[in-house]
């Protein structure tokens, strides 16, 4: 192997990409030729520096969530409005060409159009996609916001994993104390504010083991004076007696409720009651 060939295959030699034969030839040449040896050592050194000095990073969780949420929204919007409507029209048109099928097809098409129009109507209002919340019960309202977040209907207004930063941001927007649990085992993702019939709720999203933990805080005084939200009698009794109220009647999630001074806090997650409690208990030290 001569110098020209050596230089041509130098990077492959440095990266261990040469077969045994050429590698041996290269070794022999480099051992003899000072100039090629310098080239080789410098190239190996450069690779070594890049490897040693540049660290690899993980995608920030907030960015990953933002991308996934956006994808979900894009996917749904396009499928409903675009492909589906076009496909439906093609189907109806082919039915109309057959006189015997005409009445049935027209009736079917009218029904489908009605449903589509209804769905589009629901989509129009992202803040309350499933219509107004029927019940004024606080637990139901927490579950509603939790599932709205999961469905992508409630985007995060502030994305950060920094507890103080999030707290400061939302504190400016409400008149009550924005309490936030530490939940050392979970990672903070961000928060959003929502308003329902006069009461304000600050909501934070945490993640642990890929599960979303929804935390919401509202002012109990605000709730009472504005009179729109209430706790069930059972919840009031539980809170008085043990300081906690749990709602485990749902299959998709469990809810925990407690009070911090004048604020009522609720947590919703697809976790067992014990798991939820374990996460929250961290805070008490």
């Amino acid at each position: 192997m001569d110098c020209t060939e050596t230089i041509e295959y130098l990077s492959a030699f440095v990266d261990g990409e040469l077969q045994v034969g050429p590698r041996k030839e290269m070794e022999t040449h480099i051992a003899r030729c000072l100039s090629c040896r310098s080239e080789f050592e410098l190239e190996r050194m450069t690779k070594g520096i890049v490897r040693a000095k540049i660290s690899t990073q993980k995608v920030p969780a907030s960015l990953q969530i933002r991308i996934l949420q956006e994808l979900e929204k894009q996917g749904m919007a396009r499928e409903t409005v675009g492909d589906k409507v076009r496909r439906a029209f093609r189907f109806v048109a082919s039915g109309l060409r057959q006189p015997a099928l005409r009445p049935a097809v027209l009736l079917g098409a009218a029904l489908v159009l009605g449903v589509v129009a209804f769905l589009l109507f629901l989509r129009r209002e992202p803040a309350a996609p499933r219509g107004e919340l029927e019940a004024s019960d606080l637990v139901q309202q927490a579950v509603f916001h939790y599932s709205s977040y999961l469905n992508g209907d409630m985007p995060l207004q502030y994305v950060s994993s920094d507890r103080t930063e999030l707290q400061n941001y939302f504190q400016q927007k409400v008149a009550f104390d924005v309490y936030m649990p530490k939940m050392a085992e979970a990672q903070l993702i961000g928060g959003f504010l929502c308003e329902h019939t006069g009461g304000k709720f600050v909501n934070f999203i945490y993640k642990a083991d890929n599960k979303v933990i929804f935390f919401s805080v509202a002012c109990s005084k605000e709730m009472k004076t504005k009179g729109k939200f209430r706790l069930s009698a059972q919840a009031e009794t539980d809170l008085d007696r043990t300081g906690w109220h749990f709602d485990t009647s749902r299959t998709a999630c469990n809810v925990a409720l407690w009070k911090e001074n004048d604020e009522v806090c609720s947590v919703v997650a697809d976790m067992k009651k014990e798991e939820l409690l374990a996460l929250l208990k961290d805070d008490e030290q």
Partner: protein, 190 residues
């Protein structure tokens, strides 16, 4: 029922494409040199990939597919000209290396004397300044540890091209690193 198809697409996409986010984010970070641009680039790549998901051939290398989308997005966004350094610069590195080489036998010591004091930031900046084609292969080979065969598939060119780009890319990088080290007084001027 109304969104069964889009649900399937979504879960398919999440299962296949999302696990490669870290590798792509790192590539974006090293190509652009900052977190904001890297985040934008990653976002754009995933949106495009999702939009063209039906164009992806199942069973082929998904990482290579995503990677090509990112590379094209990068090129469209940052069409800036970066110049290859002159060979004269390179001779300076080699001459300097040859003079200190006489004083020491251990190559590790030489590496330490030449570049040991450089910070991650310096190296990242030097890397960022390379022309995209060269920077790409260096990132994939030296940071991500991919084989030549994988890199060739990623950048869509023959293995021989990967090899020569790596060699030239590293030489350009040497010059930049040497300049950094000299400017900051890590190594002597003569």
């Amino acid at each position: 029922m109304a969104s069964a198809r889009s649900d399937a697409k979504q879960s398919d996409f999440e299962r296949e494409a999302v696990p490669h986010m870290d590798v792509l984010y790192n590539y974006a970070l090293r190509m652009t040199g900052n977190v904001d641009d890297a985040s934008d680039l990653l976002q754009e790549t995933y949106f495009k990939a999702y939009r063209f998901w039906d164009k992806y051939e199942k069973g082929t290398n998904i990482r290579a597919w995503l990677f090509r989308i990112m590379k094209n997005s990068y090129i469209n966004r940052y069409r800036k000209e970066s110049k290859e350094p002159d060979t004269v610069d390179y001779d300076e590195v080699k001459n300097f290396y040859n003079t200190i080489r006489h004083e020491s036998i251990d190559p590790n010591d030489l590496q330490e004397r030449l570049f040991g004091n450089l910070l991650e930031d310096d190296v990242a900046k030097a890397l960022e300044s390379l022309p995209p084609d060269f920077k790409t292969v260096v990132i994939l080979c030296d940071i991500e540890g991919f084989t030549y065969e994988e890199i060739a598939e990623f950048v869509d060119c023959p293995i021989g091209t990967v090899r020569s780009r790596l060699h030239r890319g590293r030489k350009m990088l040497q010059v930049k690193l040497f300049d950094f080290a000299k400017k900051q007084g890590y190594i002597g001027h003569d």
